[in-house]
């Protein structure tokens, strides 16, 4: 299994990292908090820890710590628009249910 990005997500990430001027890639993770169990972490990655697992898809490096990978394996990151709003979406096959807003989830 792995973590993948859609073309739209990869384009945006590359654009953001170029603009930011630094960063090796994107860090995905989960934290045990939130209204429905877990919450996603989506950050720029400036460094890769020894224990991190690194995936590469669509020319973007995705860095995940092994603890989070348990919950995230198989996830596809997408980028989409809803009206004027735009942002990233996690398509995570491990999720059993999530809170109404989708910011936190359960496995």
């Amino acid at each position: 299994m792995a973590i993948t990005l859609t073309d739209a997500a990869a384009d945006r990430v590359k654009n953001f990292i170029d603009n930011r001027g630094k960063g090796v890639g994107l860090r995905l993770g989960v934290r045990t908090t939130g209204c429905s169990g877990m919450a996603y972490v989506l950050e720029f990655a400036d460094e890769v820890e020894e224990t991190d697992v690194v995936f590469e898809d669509n020319d973007v490096k995705v860095v995940v710590d092994p603890k989070s990978l348990v919950y995230l394996d198989g996830t596809e990151l997408d980028f989409g628009k809803e009206g004027l709003n735009e942002g990233f979406k996690f398509k995570n096959p491990n999720v059993k249910d999530e809170c109404g807003c989708g910011e936190s989830f359960n496995v």
Partner: protein, 622 residues
């Protein structure tokens, strides 16, 4: 599902705690709103893709009829009820408006605040500005998918206290929380990252907008901007350039525009179009077609430059006098920032560049640069970024959290969060009538408290007795710049509070910290299993306890002997499963018990509702 944005490393916020912030350029002619998303500061366009909102509000007898583009279209048809350039009036008194803008129609009241006459009655400049701000707020809320925690609004450097206060009042009226007002030239400098420079520097900000011109000399010293001098011309801008072209067309074509408002507007459009063409090419094609009036012609860059030379010279004279005021020479200026749509005109860039003897900064859209700078500042002030003004920047080496039921760790401040930091989370009671709560503060990355380091314990007492889950206990973790952790717990309804001070990294060497992090990675799989098992066990305990309490009270009344034995046998299965190590088995036993007791729960519920309604009539519920 929610749309997420990328955060800086270690800056992820908890769900529903994203702090949305925006920067607003409240301009004389146009206004904009910008925000920082995934580290990128950008203006937010409306549904048709326009970032600029014309600062025009149109009123009718019902109140506000239109804001922005639609209002501007009304300006010619309905001039008395269409208010534009209200920024020129904000914070001014009756006498000041009468002196500077005699054509403005004011209500003749004794009211201390001047009111502009419209079909909707007298409106203040503050109310009109608030309309523009609410339009931008609505756009930001729709674009960001949530309410704004705060905004930074830009004002001209020469605005006095009453104009600044009036701008703040307008924001408050529009339902915005103003984090700070910043000067427009300062915002432009921030957009170019000049505030990140290590050495002290002196810069000029040249702002030629639609109807106003400003030149400001700023000094950046230890990260703080000071306005050394500012000057300008409140009646000089892009409109004058357009009018110069219109005059040239009239001279060349021999057309007359006496009392022909339609032709006048058409000529202004032709002139604007020619101006935009000349920013990229040497010759502009002009075509006038309005009713009986028709004419075609060409305007070269050279002729155009000749038309506007005197206008540009006026701005340079203002630059000279401003430098004089600041006791500086043109050569003392290290950067020149260009702001305002009119700085796209090549002659303007060339002349300013020649005067300051350097290349001028034009890489950020001159219409958007002020809003972008304000957005960057808002993002810092709202707490989405470590405050760059702080000299002491440090991080929390290990996650900080508290113990929850089942010996699980709930992380409240994740490791690598920059300090100072404050995070809060709400917890609730586990049992009916619970009046005290033990808080165990722990540090570490592991899921089970026994594998983390205990930092301290304290108790919150005096919680009013309530049903389990109803108390709202806010637990706040605050780490100050010195790394001192304060954990406070407050029961929200009664206000009872308790707190404890801890120095979290005390006694831990770098090696120990590293071992703790490594262990958490090594045990990732098993920790997840343990967490799930532990969570199911807590759920099982809670269910059994609730069931026992209920059955003790009224099992005889609602259950047949057969039903009762079914529930008890499902409960025994759950108790057995709870002792095991298989979380799925506990989950299944829980579901079975829920199914077995479904009818019982329904009957109890009906009886409770019945009790409540007995003795009342239907009218009590109307």
């Amino acid at each position: 599902m929610a749309l997420l944005q990328i955060s800086e490393p270690g800056q992820s916020t908890a769900p529903h705690q994203h702090r949305l912030a925006a920067g607003i350029d409240l301009g004389t002619t146009n206004s904009l709103v910008a925000t920082v998303r995934s580290g990128l500061a950008e203006t937010l366009p409306d549904a048709s893709g326009n970032a600029m909102l014309p600062s025009v509000v149109c009123f009718d007898s019902h109140g506000v009829a239109a804001i922005g583009v639609q209002a501007r279209e009304q300006a010619a048809l309905n001039p008395h009820n269409t208010i534009s350039s209200v920024k020129r009036l904000i914070g001014l008194s009756h006498a000041e408006i009468a002196g500077s803008y005699p054509f403005v129609r004011l209500e003749s009241t004794d009211d201390s605040v001047p009111r502009l006459s419209t079909a909707a009655g007298g409106v203040t400049a503050i109310e009109v500005s608030a309309q523009i701000l609410s339009a931008l707020r609505d756009r930001a809320v729709a674009s960001l998918g949530g309410d704004l925690a705060g905004v930074v609004i830009t004002v001209p450097a020469y605005f006095d206290d009453s104009q600044r206060q009036a701008t703040k009042d307008a924001a408050q009226l529009a339902g915005l929380k103003v984090l700070r007002l910043i000067n427009e030239p300062t915002a432009a400098a921030i957009a170019y990252g000049i505030d990140k420079k290590d050495s002290d520097t002196t810069i000029a900000v040249y702002d030629l907008g639609g109807g106003t011109f400003d030149i400001s000399i700023l000094k950046l010293e230890r990260g703080v901007f000071e306005v050394l001098a500012t000057a300008g011309d409140t009646a000089l801008g892009g409109d004058d350039i357009d009018n110069a072209i219109v005059q040239w067309i009239l001279d060349e074509s021999g057309l007359g525009i006496d009392n022909d408002a339609g032709l006048q507007r058409h000529l202004l459009d032709v002139a604007r179009n020619a101006k935009h063409q000349l920013s990229g090419s040497a010759v502009a094609e002009l075509k006038v077609e309005s009713g009986p009036s028709a004419w075609t012609g060409q305007l070269s860059r050279e002729t155009f430059d000749g038309l506007i030379e005197s206008l540009v010279d006026r701005t340079i004279r203002a630059c000279k006098s401003t430098l004089n005021d600041a006791s500086l020479n043109a050569s003392d200026i290290e950067e020149v920032v260009m702001v305002g749509g009119s700085t796209r005109v090549p002659l303007v860039r060339e002349t300013v560049s020649a005067f300051f003897k350097q290349d001028v900064l034009t890489s950020i859209d001159p219409d958007e640069v002020v809003a972008v700078g304000a957005a960057l500042q808002a993002d810092i002030l709202v707490g989405n970024k470590p405050d760059s003004d702080l000299l002491l920047l440090d991080v929390v080496p290990l996650s900080l959290g508290i113990e929850t039921m089942g010996g699980l760790t709930e992380h409240i401040i994740p490791r690598n969060t920059t300090i100072p930091v404050a995070r809060a989370q709400e917890f609730t009671t586990y049992k009916d009538g619970q009046t005290a709560m033990a808080l165990h503060v722990v540090q570490g990355e592991r899921d089970l408290v026994q594998d983390c380091r205990s930092l301290g314990r304290f108790e919150l007492r005096g919680i009013p007795p309530m049903v389990a889950g109803q108390a709202r206990i806010q637990v706040t973790f605050q780490v100050d710049a010195d790394g001192l952790l304060t954990v406070a717990a407050t029961e929200q309804t009664s206000g009872v509070a308790a707190e404890v001070h801890i120095k979290p990294s005390y006694g831990l060497s770098d090696g120990e910290i590293e071992t703790m992090i490594r262990d958490s990675m090594k045990h990732a799989e098993s920790d997840v299993q343990l967490r799930m098992l532990q969570e199911q066990r807590v759920e099982a305990d809670r269910t059994i306890e609730a069931l026992d309490a209920a059955m003790q009270k009224d099992a005889e009344a609602f259950l047949s002997a057969e039903e009762k034995s079914q529930i008890l046998s499902a409960k025994d299965t759950l108790i057995a499963a709870r002792e095991g190590e298989d979380s799925d088995q506990i989950k299944k036993a829980l579901r079975d018990l829920e199914a077995a007791s479904q009818a019982y729960v329904a009957r109890r519920m009906n009886a409770t509702v019945g009790d409540l309604m007995r003795g009342t009539t239907i009218s009590n519920y109307e």
